[in-house]
Symmetry: C2
Subunit: 217 residues, 2 copies
């Protein structure tokens, strides 16, 4: 207990990953990790600020939070930092119009974004959407740009579902990088900017927080 | 002409790439590149030995040669060095039983190979076969192996079809490398071993030959 006390000295907030920390996804919405519902409830009862920092990009924040609440977690949409809203900010700031290679479940996050005459590609964990045809289309869009810009929502290698390991967005980001001879810009963990934005939303500095993330983040 | 004469001094043979040198693939079998049918005919009439060295891995050599003959090229199956037969030799030598992520058009080249209880993955230009499901299966096979072995038939970034640029096997090789944290073994160009095997089949040394390859080989 003393060791934990020392490690937590000065800490005022906790950033929690979701997939692999609170639950494992899968058929029927996945399953909570043993003890995580109660652990979150205890954190919420403590003096610590709690925020969720996820690379989830198959679902909108609304759908994600709804699913987690049904599993018993005490969580609200405003407590979640996720790559899709962060990407929308970047697109607007830089006047970028994306070709989207994303999962239908997260498409609503991009409702306000101009996708006509694309001048960049946004790639996220598209799951079955990573068909050859869709990958080739994203590749062709990039090859036609004078300055190809590829934004990737995370760069995870794989994640665990109840049915087994599943390829995440990272391998497909690498595929497009190699095909086009470019380097993607990663929005989401492990980008320092992404963690900083979560801290800003908590009103804390880095030394005042600890992050609990899954092994692949 | 003098410059060419000097560059060809001592040269006794020519290795020719096929896609991008003799023809561009595409709907209906593709189209010969202007002048290539006659250029090959002239080479064949010369004193030079001619051999074809291709990374084509969507078709068996028999199907490839049949298609090229219909386009007017003077070519026979025994004159072609291709990655699939070279891979079969490696698999047999090393006792490897592959999970195949390949195009149906080249599957017949692997008819004599034991694919039960796989202990490696062979990846080739699978085209539409590069679905998320098929990539995930290859990934899962690799992750379950103690010593994951990935053989890739070439590592081309993309190739040109009459309808536009198409992703080749290289990006998908990179995706699996990143997902599994491994490095693939490339069978085919630009592997020196592959060029050497083509030279052996011509009975020539490297200094006695020149290779004409497409930009992405």
């Amino acid at each position: 207990m003393a060791a934990w006390g020392e490690r937590l000295a000065g800490v005022r907030g906790v950033l929690l990953d979701i997939s692999g920390v609170l639950y494992d996804g899968g058929e029927g919405g996945g399953a909570p990790i043993a003890g995580s519902v109660e652990a979150l409830a205890r954190l919420k009862r403590s003096q610590l600020k709690v925020r969720f920092c996820t690379n989830e990009s198959q679902k909108s924040r609304g759908d994600l939070v709804g699913m987690l609440r049904r599993l018993g977690f005490d969580i609200s949409e405003g407590e979640v930092t996720a790559p899709a809203p962060a990407t929308c900010l970047i697109l607007k700031e830089r006047g970028l119009r994306p070709h989207l290679l994303i999962h239908d479940g997260v498409r609503s996050e991009f409702d306000q974004i101009d996708t006509s005459n694309p001048n960049c590609v946004v790639i996220a964990d598209a799951g079955e959407g990573f068909s050859y045809q869709n990958m080739n289309k994203a590749f062709q869009v990039l090859m036609e740009l004078e300055n190809p810009v590829l934004l990737s929502l995370g760069k995870g290698r794989y994640y665990k579902e109840t049915s087994g390991l599943m390829l995440d967005v990272g391998p497909y980001m690498k595929a497009l990088e190699y095909a086009c001879g470019i380097e993607a810009e990663v929005v989401g963990k492990p980008s320092p900017e992404f963690f900083k934005s979560a801290l800003r939303e908590m009103g804390l500095e880095a030394h005042q927080s600890r992050a609990l993330v899954s092994h692949d983040a």
